[in-house]
């Protein structure tokens, strides 16, 4: 047993105490954070003030528009959108919304301009000259008849590409026009809001047993997690194969085999590298939950609706269990390949096989996400080789009955025992064969006749 632990320790340290491991482990969450935080930071950077004039041919809208662009009004609007997507607003979020609004509102400096009695071309000529003199940045021409479908609202801007300004202006303008139309139709603003409030449809799936349950996670997140799992399994499988080929190429195996049983050596290697993978995954999971929590908070604060998948501790545990099952299945296959080839290039040719199996599993995840209770989903999520990818996706979509999960663990456990038995027999002999790749009939003989 001590020898086994010596192998585990070496393999673990060999993987974990490398620059690449440390970099990928700690950089990944950092890169993830960058994707979440950097755009938010960029949004909060104060733009230059935009000097804007309204050429109001209608005569009623300029004042409304001005009011709609004050920070208070903007904050009100943001709050309303946020309330639409989130049930309740925390006081801290309230404050954040106000600050964001102030930021947007403070961006505008309204230049008074009286357009009455002027033709559009006169207006344009004059305002364009102001822009040319750098006294004005943008102006909006509001048509006389705001109800005709023919009439156009036009924004002339030096910064036509600034989408934040554009969208703020657009919504302020539509609000102003709407208010005017309501006034014309004799309907109060408050009344309209009541009439047009959106219905919120709550999705509550019913499980097979007829019990209600909370809304499941976003199907996309299941797929992302499946491809993420697949990538990790492939990376660690490759690492195992490389380690075995190295021992064969450098002929260390002979010394090793005279010291410890091949089975101990093989299992030590698998467990050591597996623990390293688990370490990395745990760090990523912890970082991801921190980031998601933080990201969701600041996203909803700035009015972007975001829904967190409902992940319980049990789901995380299942996730880790199926990662380990997958690791041992694919690592053993890679170890098998490593034992029969003489270098990494040869190994690469055979390694297409596990990659294919994993990709097929990934495709089945689509079917599982669409209908987690179909019989296809059931069979694929318990099948050896596929379950480690498919089952976590299915659990995320909708937690299946416990016996499905137990059966998947059992079947894959049995598959691992079988694979380990096969691999240890090939490993024992293959590692002492130098210079020549084993043929399939030879491997067959090693397994059954030695």
């Amino acid at each position: 047993m001590n020898k086994f632990f010596a192998v585990v320790k070496r393999e673990y340290k060999k993987v974990v105490f490398t620059w690449t491991f440390l970099l990928t482990t700690f950089l990944m969450p950092f890169i993830g954070a960058m994707f979440l935080v950097v755009p938010m930071l960029i949004f909060t950077i104060e733009g230059e003030q935009t000097r804007i004039a309204f050429a109001d041919l209608n005569g009623n809208l300029a004042e409304r528009l001005k009011k709609n662009l004050t920070p208070n009004k903007l904050a009100d609007n943001l709050k309303r959108t946020a309330e639409g997507s989130l049930d309740k607003l925390e006081p801290s979020q309230n404050k954040q919304i106000e600050e964001t609004a102030k930021l947007f509102g403070g961006n505008f400096k309204i230049i008074d301009y009286d357009a009455s009695g002027k033709t559009p071309s006169e207006i344009k000529e004059f305002l364009n000259s102001l822009v040319a003199k750098k006294e004005l940045d943008a102006y909006i021409i509001i048509p006389k008849d705001i109800d005709s479908t023919e009439s156009k609202f036009e924004l002339y801007s030096r910064k036509a590409g600034d989408f934040i300004i554009n969208s703020t202006l657009e919504s302020a303008l539509s609000d102003a026009v709407r208010s005017q139309r309501l006034l014309d139709a004799d309907i109060s603003e408050e009344k309209l809001r009541q009439i047009t409030r959106r219905v919120k449809l709550e999705k509550r799936p019913i499980t097979e047993t007829g019990a209600e349950k909370e809304d499941g996670a976003d199907p996309m997140s299941g797929f992302i997690i499946a491809s993420f799992l697949m990538t990790i399994l492939l990376i660690y499988g490759q690492a195992i194969m490389a380690a075995i080929v190295e021992e064969k190429e450098t002929k260390i195996s002979e010394v090793l085999f005279s010291s410890a049983r091949p089975f101990e050596l093989l299992m030590g290697k698998l467990v050591g590298v597996g623990l390293a993978g688990l370490t990395q995954l745990a760090i990523w999971l912890a970082a991801a939950s921190l980031l998601l929590g933080f990201g969701a908070l600041s996203a909803s604060a700035s009015g972007i609706p975001i829904e967190l998948p409902s992940i319980t501790l049990m789901v995380v545990i299942y996730f880790l269990i199926f990662f380990l099952l997958g690791f041992f299945i694919y690592a053993t296959i890679y170890a098998f390949i490593g034992s029969m080839v003489t270098n990494m290039q040869e190994g690469g040719q055979f390694a297409v096989l596990p990659v294919m199996i994993l990709i097929i599993g990934l495709y089945f995840c689509f079917a599982v996400v669409r209908d987690p209770n179909s019989s296809l989903a059931f069979w694929m999520s318990i099948a050896p080789f596929f379950a480690p990818i498919v089952m976590p996706v299915r659990i995320l979509a909708e937690v299946p009955p416990f016996w499905h999960i137990a059966l998947a663990i059992l079947l894959n456990g049995v598959a691992i025992i079988g694979l380990t038995w096969l691999t240890s027999r090939v490993y024992r002999i293959g590692m002492l064969m130098y210079g020549k790749r084993a043929t399939i009939p030879e491997v067959w003989k090693w397994i059954w006749h030695s």
């Binding site: 001590n2 020898k3 010596a6 192998v7 320790k9 070496r10 060999k14 190295e246 021992e247 450098t250 002929k251 260390i252 195996s253 002979e254 010394v255 090793l256 085999f257 005279s258 010291s259 410890a260 049983r261 002492l432 130098y434």
Partner: protein, 302 residues
């Protein structure tokens, strides 16, 4: 043979790989505290036999006993094995590497560290302790591998071609170390094709050829039994006598003298008498022991 002093006994061992018989019906034993030479040309079955002794492979037939019992993990930890195919982890540091090999032999780390320091000092590698293996020269990694073989203080040391790849200075150095280990009452088995080295170091030898034992026993006795019939001769003339196939088996020519191998029935005094009779001028006539090399070539040829 005294069972108490037998470190290794190999009894009627056969090993086949498919149709090829690598070792056939091999029996020999190694007494404790002796240096045992495992000799034979390439492909004779030396490495296959050694692999069976250290328990990497299992014989198809026959029995191998170490220290009076079968091969168990406990017994294995009493063996130090330096394989012919040397292997070290390239990217591992010298110290970590040695610690790992010691742990695989069941040595506690504290004890291992003490022995690592001792052996690195003894092998003049102390300043390389925290270097990576790739930085070491070939000779140095060879010495490092030897240290890895010694860390668990084995009672039986099995060295497969221990001198290959070493420069002459290091060969002498390793010979000293081996002699030192022998003086600590350890048993050493080493395989080599360098007969001169074997001759200087071995107490007993076994000679394998084509999967079979050709010869075995105490080196002294083997050489003595061959010695009767070899004559170191310096003379001019007498070519007719030397060409007599009834008397002379074969001749090895040196620069100014000849080694005459007599037929088993041939006798030294007959040769001398006939040379003198033929009028040859004999300046040296000495009955000598053949070198191990001569015996090796003689046995492998026939």
């Amino acid at each position: 043979m005294d069972e108490m002093n037998t470190t290794l006994s190999v009894e009627h061992v056969t090993k086949r790989f498919g149709d090829f018989t690598a070792v056939e019906d091999l029996s020999f034993s190694v007494q404790s505290g002796r240096v045992f030479g495992f000799l034979g040309p390439n492909g004779a079955g030396k490495t296959t036999t050694i692999r069976m002794i250290v328990g990497i492979t299992i014989p198809d037939e026959g029995k191998i006993q170490l220290f009076g019992s079968g091969i168990t993990p406990g017994i294995r930890d009493r063996i130090g094995y330096l394989p012919e195919e040397r292997g070290l982890y390239k990217k591992m540091k010298v110290l970590d590497q040695l610690r790992y090999f010691a742990a695989l032999k069941g040595v506690a780390q504290k004890e291992a560290d003490k022995r690592i320091d001792f052996w690195l000092g003894r092998m003049q590698l102390s300043e390389w302790k925290s270097k990576k293996t790739t930085d070491l020269s070939k000779g140095m990694s060879q010495k490092l591998q030897f240290i890895a073989t010694m860390l668990h203080n084995p009672d039986l040391l099995i060295l497969d071609e221990p001198f290959s790849g070493l420069d002459p200075v290091n060969v002498e150095f390793m010979k000293e170390v081996i002699a030192e280990i022998k003086s600590q009452d350890k048993t050493i088995i080493f395989s080599t094709h360098l007969m001169e080295t074997a001759e200087k170091l071995c107490d007993d030898i076994i000679l394998l050829n084509k999967s079979r034992k050709v010869l075995s026993g105490k080196l002294r006795e083997i050489k003595a039994s061959y010695g009767k019939n070899v004559i170191s001769l310096r003379c001019s003339g007498g070519e007719a006598v030397l060409a007599d196939k009834e008397l002379v088996a074969h001749i090895v020519e040196h620069s100014d003298e000849k080694e005459i191998f007599l037929k088993e029935t041939g006798r030294a005094k007959d040769l001398l008498a006939r040379l003198v009779e033929s009028g040859a001028d004999v300046t040296k006539f000495e009955s000598i022991e053949p070198s191990l090399n001569d015996i090796f070539i003689d046995k492998v040829k026939t």
